[in-house]
């Protein structure tokens, strides 16, 4: 009984909010142009789903997020491992990367449009640049802060080279790397919203901007809710990864 309670507890507040929202719309406190009632949003959602339009936008956005994340996070991991493990790579690369890091990814939009035009490449580039740094920094930090005592022990037990890296340094860096991944997975949606307003032909951002032009507040809300749901799903995925890879750590069990 107690467990059931705790499972439902996180949803009490959202449900309560929706009830209050619905009630205030019906009582006429909220104009439907500012905030349509939840029921209208649900109907808009249903209509979009039935017409198939929703899935086209969803698929496009998901694909963009996934490939942008894969490119950015993959490069971040690779370069983080490189600069974290080799001093020479750090002196060669780190200063440059730190300089680029201080430029907000979204400040690059004008330049990106000039370089790539307004097609997919521009969006993927923005996503990849934004996602790169959290993964890079956390990977670098994780490798560097690996417990020296454990490394010394492993060396004195004959481990060196790749086995030392695989069995000691990499697992020690993993919690930090996963923090970077989780942060990036959250960031990718924020970047996607902006990237998709650059002028896209499909995607949740496009759907939302389009709806705004026609004053379809309910569709705008559907788009916002979709982002919320997708963000939550991304968070669940990264939590699942932490639970799996860090199952030795009592903090993640």
């Amino acid at each position: 009984m107690k467990q059931k309670q705790s499972a439902w507890a996180p949803w009490v507040l959202p449900v309560l909010l929706i009830v209050v929202w619905q009630a205030s719309s019906q009582l006429g406190w909220l104009s439907s142009r500012i905030l349509p009632e939840p029921w209208a949003v649900a109907k808009a959602f249903w209509a979009l789903a039935v017409s198939g339009e929703l899935w086209v936008h969803l698929r496009t956005s998901l694909w963009r997020a996934a490939s942008g994340f894969a490119i950015g996070a993959g490069l971040g991991l690779l370069l983080g491992l490189l600069t974290g493990s080799f001093r020479r790579a750090e002196t060669l690369l780190d200063t440059t990367l730190q300089m680029i890091r201080n430029i907000p990814a979204l400040a690059l939009i004008p330049l990106v449009i000039l370089w790539f035009g307004i097609d997919e490449t521009a969006k993927l580039f923005l996503l990849a640049v934004g996602v790169f740094f959290p993964v890079y920094l956390n990977t670098f930090h994780g490798i560097r802060s690996a417990d020296q005592g454990l490394i010394e022990m492993a060396r004195s037990y004959g481990l060196s080279g790749w086995p030392l890296y695989r069995d000691v340094i990499l697992p020690a860096a993993l919690p930090s790397i996963l923090v970077g991944v989780r942060f990036s997975l959250g960031l990718v949606w924020v970047l996607l919203i902006v990237a998709e307003t650059i002028s896209a032909q499909a995607g949740i951002g496009y759907m939302t901007m389009n709806a705004r032009e026609f004053l379809q507040t309910d569709v705008v809300l559907v788009g916002i809710l979709l982002y919320a749901i997708l963000g939550k799903l991304a968070d669940l995925v990264s939590r699942g990864m932490e639970k799996h890879f860090l199952r030795w750590n009592p903090a993640y069990r």
Binding site: G149, L150, E152, M153, A154, S156, Y157, G158, L159, D167, V168, P171, A172, L174, W248, N249, P250
Partner: protein, 273 residues
């Protein structure tokens, strides 16, 4: 110095399974250890000053001293984890590299590997032997647990099993029981003594606990200001658990303690000079 990775795989080990505890283990002779005028300084601070020490094969020597006297540095130098400025450290006679293992104050288990995999570190093919060694420290049933699920004493027992799996000829113990509670510490001392008696390796224990030194060692060496200032033979019967607290033990303990406590750093320097 060469810290070898003794290469035993499962096939090379004649002992397997749970009968290991009752069967007579192969008594491998320990190696001798010779330290000749070993000196070491960190910056301007001289940590080790012409340390002269000889151990016969199979001998158990405890190094005691106040904290900061250089005893841990000495042990790390023997293990090859620190380089020395002057002097030589010879482990064993002849050209055959001896197998040296060290136990640290913290267990230093890899938290992402199970207990069994931790014991088998460096010898990943020796899982059967690792399980057998784990049984000798009484933790056979914890093989598949994570280190975070063990108590401090159990973790040190895993670390002991990990060191023993490599059949060390010289085992170095860097205050491995310092963080344990009093009862667990006595249990661990008895375990270490019995394994040492059974296997005959040479052992060097660094400790600040005089009682622990007397409970384990053949000789107690006192280090003050980086020098050996006392080398006391402990002529008590073994196993030491039987004599713990009797008059001879207490007398020796009293003597050592008063020797350490009455010696302020300035007077010891005067004697050394």
């Amino acid at each position: 110095m060469f810290v070898s990775t003794a290469l035993f795989d499962t096939g090379a080990l004649p002992r397997e399974g749970a009968t290991w505890t009752s069967a007579q283990p192969p008594r491998r002779q320990g190696v001798s250890l010779e330290l000749d005028q070993v000196s070491k300084s960190f910056g301007k601070r001289q940590v080790l000053n012409d340390v002269q020490l000889e151990l016969k094969p199979g001998e158990f020597v405890a190094i005691v001293g106040r904290s900061g006297c250089g005893k841990s540095t000495l042990l790390r130098a023997i293990a090859g984890l620190e380089t020395v400025d002057r002097g030589s450290i010879a482990v064993g006679k002849g050209s055959i590299a001896a197998s040296i293992r060290i136990m640290f104050q913290e267990a230093r288990l890899l938290p992402w590997k199970t207990v069994l995999d931790n014991v088998a570190i460096g010898l990943p093919r020796a899982l059967n032997a690792a399980a057998a060694t784990l049984a000798t420290v009484g933790l056979a049933e914890r093989a598949n647990d994570w280190p975070s699920e063990l108590s401090g004493g159990q973790r040190q027992r895993v670390a002991l099993a990990r060191a023993l799996l490599h059949e060390p000829q010289l085992l170095l113990l860097d205050e491995p029981l310092g963080a344990l509670d009093a009862l667990t510490r006595i249990e661990m001392q008895q375990l270490i003594e019995s394994l040492w008696l059974a296997r005959g390796f040479t052992a060097v224990l660094v400790t600040h606990d005089v009682q622990e030194a007397l409970a384990l060692a053949d000789r107690v060496v006192l280090i003050e200001d980086g020098r050996v200032t006392l080398d006391l033979k402990v002529d008590l019967p073994r196993p030491r658990a039987s004599v713990r607290g009797n008059a001879a033990f207490a007398a020796l303990e009293q003597r050592l303690l008063s020797r350490i406590l009455n010696q302020t750093p300035s007077t010891s320097a005067a004697i050394a000079a």
